[in-house]
Amino acid sequence: MIQESAAFTPQFGASAIARILWLIPAVPILASGVIALMKQPQRKPAATLAIGSLSFSLLLSLIAFGHVLAGWAHSAVVRETVNFAWFHFGRTSVDLGWVLDPLAAIMLVMVSFVGLLIFIYSVGYMAHDENYTRFFCFLSLFAGAMLGVVISNSILLLFMCWEIVGLTSYLLIGFWYQKPSAAAAAKKAFITTRFGDVFFLLGIVWLFAQTGTLLFYNHGVGSLEGLALANLLTQHAGLGLSAACAIGLLIFAGAAGKSGQLPLHVWLPDAMEGPTPVSALIHAATMVAAGVYLIARVYPLMQIGAGPNGSTTALTVVAWVGAATAVFAALIAVAQDDIKRILAYSTISQLGYMMAGLALGGVAVGMFHLITHAFFKALLFLGAGSVIHGCHEEQDIRKMGCLRVDMPFTFITYAIGMLALCGFPIFFSGFWSKDGILEAAHSWNISQVPFYLLAFGALLTAFYMTRQVCYVFFGYWRGHETAHESPGVMILPMVILAFFAMALGLIGTPAWPWFHAFLDNHAAPFSFHGFAEPGLGWLMLASSLIVFLGLGLGWKFYGDKSPEPEEPDVLEKSTPKVWAALRNRLYVDEFYGATVIAFYAWWARVADWLDRRVWGGIVAAVAWLFGLWARFNRLLDVEWVDGSFDKTCDELSSGGGLLARVQSGRVQDYLRILAVAVIVLAAILLWSSRP
């Protein structure tokens, strides 16, 4: 894209900032390239470069955001695209390009801001790691690729960045590749996401085949614009699905792979083998959000042809999957003991919320939860990281306790994040975003089941978070050596994130739905009549009650009593069966092990058998025939050929000896040979050029 800037033709509409938008991803990628060339001991320059480049991107993103904001304030539809042909084959051309619209702008700011905070945090967290520079190289490569995903206006470009993101996630999960578990987790993540990406690629190809363009928005002829969509809608893909719907589902498969939706979520918990900043950055804030963002980006495609009930098949599927994932993951989270695993599962369930929000309430609802979640989940992961750091790499919450005394800052910030995640009323952003989703689900007129599922998920969320916090910060210290508070460079980002975890909610309240207005491009009036919608008040009350219920239950069970590490969990005593099931992640991995993997193993055995017996047999027969032929030849050789051949060989070797003698190591001999060569050459030339 950078190299191609020669073939780069900015549109007339594109403003200066839109024209240089490509710098936002380009700079971190460039930085990672430079860092890759650095030597291991050059720690400080590497970190400085990474952070500097990302803050540059943040600056540009803020400028872009301001630009879009200004346009929105003048109630103009801001969507600027810069497209150029990468290369042509035949009559079709492969176009790349980038777009600047409210969605991209908000996402840009979020990604680069959270990313920057996490970079800073990693300076402290990775301080003792010897592969510091490699870490920052991967990190900035990831940041760049993610930003590329955000701004890309061509689905091909998006897919490229998407794959780079997958690659970096693989590299970062396997960062401590000497740990076999980490290596395995990395492989798992890579393969699982590839599984989704295959469908995604199919969707891309199909889309390209149908619409003939790769661009999303291209002045009315892009694939997400009226003409192409109408065309897609008329095409039929069988099963009573329109092409648009089918493509949407394929793309959703890719998104599900990336952001751990139900069938493909298995890699996300294992991904916690990576360093904690990675877990925070990739598997909470940004990368997993890429799937959600993808759906938001292609939302017109999903939405087109919405029936009387205001939904399409694709969206319905998304909604169900999301809701299911939300509850499913929340259930598992209840029974985990690894502090990061709990957060991982909560991430999965929150992603489910986002998907459901997208499907039920539209782009704004889902994206709002994405943004708020990015902040408070990053905060929670950083807190967890700080706890792990402080407890000397201990991750089992049963071996902690009473940390509120040892690590006060971590405790406060973590509590804020936890409350935000639970959706504690009024003061925390999670409340407003989750409430939006619940409201949307409640007003969904296909079925009420998703609403109840999501509500139950909210209850579980509050419960397991309380459990975790009780284990970690209350009770008495159950570890061996005493914990210590983390350095300031780790605390600071947490404080900042905590602030946003609380404040961000205010831009999406029903009273002032600024966020939704911004995304949907209409004005945002400020009035408390927003609350006056029928049922909204009740709904808010209900969800608050649910949250309080969850918190209360959690406190009642785990409160301040903090059992011994060995003694079984409270719930385990009451319902061992369920507990065991939850504890073992509802046997999903085992299920895959028993079905998919078993099938592959069986197929491998079959192939092996085929190889050995069938093909092998044929090969053997052929070989035998050739062996026969060879024997015959050998006879010929030994009789006739060899004699002369051996003679030749001897002559050759003796000649080699002669040649070797030429290499006498005496300069003058070489000079002599040179002179002779010159003579011959000159003679030849002269002779040939004789008049």
Binding site: S664, R666, Q668
Partner: protein, 106 residues
């Protein structure tokens, strides 16, 4: 008389000088002498260049002259480096006789 034209005369002198230099470079045992021979060859080339410049069609273009001047400069560099090498070789293998130095023998 040699060469009906002056140019031929100069070229022949240059050729002879070149041959002499080559002979020196090929037959002497001391590295420094070899370098001297090489210098002689370079000078013969310079003589050719100047002669062609003088008797060529476009002397005002100065090409041959420039070529000669540059080659003089380069020859100076070459001499400096070559003699430095000879000295360092002498330091290592206490001799400057080329046929005693055959460490690169294949």
């Amino acid at each position: 008389m040699i060469g009906a034209t002056p140019l031929a005369g100069y070229l022949l002198v240059a050729a002879l000088l070149f041959a002499i230099g080559l002979a020196g470079a090929l037959t002497r045992r001391n590295a420094i002498l070899v370098l001297i021979g090489i210098e002689l060859m370079l000078n013969a080339a310079n003589l050719n260049l100047i002669a062609f410049w003088r008797y060529g069609p476009h002397p005002e273009a100065l090409t041959g002259m420039m070529f000669a001047i540059f080659s003089i400069a380069v020859a100076a560099a070459e001499a400096a480096v070559g003699l430095g090498l000879v000295i360092s070789i002498y330091r290592h293998t206490n001799t400057a006789e080329l046929d005693k130095i055959s460490r690169m023998k294949g």
